[in-house]
Amino acid sequence: MGSRSFQGLNLVLVWVIGFAMIFLFLSNFCCSVIGQSETGFTTTNKFDIPLLNSSVSFGADGNYKKALLENNEWHFFNLHFNSVQSAEKLDLRVSAKDCEVTIFSCLIYNSTFTGERAKSATVRYHVVGNGEQVFDLGLDPKLGDWGVVIDGVFKGETDGWRLSSDGTLTITGATGNVTLSYYGFPASFRDSIDGEDQIFSQHSVVAITSFVVGFIVLLAASVRIRRSSNNLLISSNQSKFRDRT
């Protein structure tokens, strides 16, 4: 009887596991079908910003989940280009003033920096009209560096672009092709940036160096003092000896 109930239990378990596996297998298709509510865009789509006399368009086909115009800024949710499937879908906020912007690529991807994984991003666009463009990819400026190339010329910060504390890039005076590149720092670097409660670990090297140098100075000073006192003792003994003789 015991063995029969054991066999029965086994049978139940097998059916449960089997159904679970089938469900998991099928759910990949179901969920992706249910989740698919993306909107495609092509090169002919134009996203106007009427109050700022500007427009944004794309130089390649792609998809986004949602696009909203808020405060003269287009906010694209889950944006990605069809030509680059491997890149992360990103949320892009873009605004422009007195110009027409055509975005050819906008990617966030993983790269390596000194052997560690780090996040990088690139935005390439073409601008017609002497206006202003604003980009926000939701990247923390404290966790990476931005580089801007305008018509093949690398521009230092404040030379035609500026970075706000919230990570918004504002490019002014650019006409032609512009490349915005973000080089993120790896996780180990972020720990040292974010660790407000790790004062000693953030400055451990200078602390240890100061301690070692201080120790050396003290040691050297004590050797010097001991030597001086020995010399004094020797010379005083010598003079006592001379006095006696």
């Binding site: 920096f113 000194t114 560096d145 580089g147 690398f154 521009k155 230092g156 910060e157 404040t158 030379d159 590149s181 080089y183 720092f185 790896p186 180990s188 670097f189 040292s192 940036i193 953030q202 400055h203 451990s204 090297v205 200078v206 160096t209 100061s210 070692v212 140098v213 050396i216 100075v217 050297a220 000073a221 050797v223 010097r224 001991r226 030597r227």
Partner: protein
């Protein structure tokens, strides 16, 4: 295999070999006037290997003989020892040029310049990331240099510097051809000795001027604003980072030797430029090459010519032979007034023409030009006339070899 990547095993092997060789040299060198010189040559070669250890064993933690690729900074060994607070390697007061591959330590002059400009702020460096400010990095460099100078003084110049080895080998070649060396007049030699302090001050001031925007928030030279992911793009002065390195002779020596040995890709050196590579290369400039040629020729005629004007030697001298550091420096050359007969041998054999051990009556005769090569002790024919003292203990004394 574990042993290939075992730092401890490699270090033990190195030390054991070193100790054995030192014993061998001291025991079997019959000529008493060559014992210390032979030992010094061995220590210099061992130091050269230790400084460029990465070329021999590959970066720690990776397979041996890993191709070094094209970037000269790929094989910095121990560069991450201090993490991203100080990722360029340990500062040691020798000309362990920053640019060649496979280094274990780094030239402090490069670090001082680079941490003033362009890496004053925290952030990206040359393929590294700095989580500490320039001030903090400078404190670490100066702390290490001060500590080492107090302990060993200019011993680094005489026994460990790779460029010193280069000049000593040139001297040995000259001696092989039995060509007599030339000497500067005392006045000229003194002027050269003072010139090196002006040199180090000039390059530090230049670095501050270039880095004025980052340090003071105002550009003293247009175009010195920070910018770019590599930290070097700063307008018209982008190619003038680390000004001393543009003239230092060790840089072309290290790079060209590594290219010749196959440890560095020559195309990388010639491609990374701001113009024709031999004029304004990132790793090699015409001035570098010219200075190397001039120093080589002059080192053939004048012993240890570069040491007389070396700014790194000046830095070490400041922290070991001038007050207040002089009062506590641990390695000193000492003269016994009674035993000295003023024969003048010490003055004649000194490679840098230091004169204090001859002119001063007695006591501490260490001077800023002395690089503690101990040739004077080796050649002094009177027992205990000259001694080397470390922390008050005599470690070397002159012997009656006559």
């Amino acid at each position: 295999m574990v042993w290939e990547n075992s730092i401890t095993l490699v270090a033990l092997l190195f030390l054991t070999t070193g100790v054995f060789c030192v014993f061998f040299i001291l025991k079997f060198t019959k000529d008493k006037t060559k014992k210390i010189s032979n030992l010094r040559l061995f220590i210099q070669v061992a130091a050269l290997l230790a400084i460029f250890l990465g070329l021999l064993i590959g970066p720690f933690g990776t397979p041996r003989w890993l191709p070094l690729g094209i970037s000269p900074r790929d094989s910095l060994v121990g560069g991450e020892f201090f993490g991203n607070q100080f990722p360029d390697g340990l500062s040691v007061p020798v000309l362990a040029c920053y640019y060649p591959n496979g280094r274990t330590v780094t030239c402090p002059i490069w670090q001082i310049q680079a941490y003033i400009f362009p890496f004053w702020d925290t952030g990206r460096g040359y393929d590294v990331f700095y989580s500490t400010s320039g001030l903090e990095k400078l404190a670490i460099v100066f702390g290490l240099v001060i500590g080492m100078s107090i302990v060993l003084g200019r011993f680094f110049c005489g026994w460990l510097c790779p460029f010193g080895l280069y000049m000593d080998l040139i001297t040995r070649v000259r001696k092989f051809f039995r060509i007599r060396h030339l000497s500067f007049s005392d006045r000229t030699n003194t002027a050269l000795g003072q010139f090196r302090f002006i040199l180090i001050a000039a390059f530090l001031i230049l670095s501050f001027i270039f880095g004025s925007y980052a340090i003071f928030g105002t550009e003293l030279i247009p175009g010195t604003i920070p910018g770019g992911p590599l930290g070097t793009e700063a307008g018209i002065v982008g190619s003038l980072n680390e000004p001393f390195c543009l003239v230092c002779p060790m840089r072309p020596l290290g790079i060209l030797v590594e290219c010749a040995l196959g440890y560095m890709n020559y195309s990388y050196v010639s491609q990374i430029t701001y113009g024709p590579f031999w004029v304004s290369g990132f790793y090699l400039t015409a001035i570098n090459l010219a200075v190397l040629i001039v120093v080589t020729v002059l080192s053939f005629a004048y012993r240890r010519f570069w040491c007389r004007i070396c700014p790194l030697g000046a830095l070490t001298a400041i922290f070991s032979t001038f007050s207040p550091f002089k009062q506590i420096a641990l390695t000193r050359l000492h003269k016994n007034e009674v035993k000295c007969t003023k024969c003048g041998v010490c003055k004649r054999v000194c490679p840098t023409q230091a004169t204090e051990m001859f002119e001063k009556k007695g006591g501490d005769v260490t001077e800023s030009r002395c690089m503690l090569c101990m040739r004077c002790i080796e050649m002094c024919p009177y027992e205990d006339a000259l001694t080397l003292e470390v922390a008050g203990k005599t470690v070397l004394r002159s012997r009656n070899w006559l």
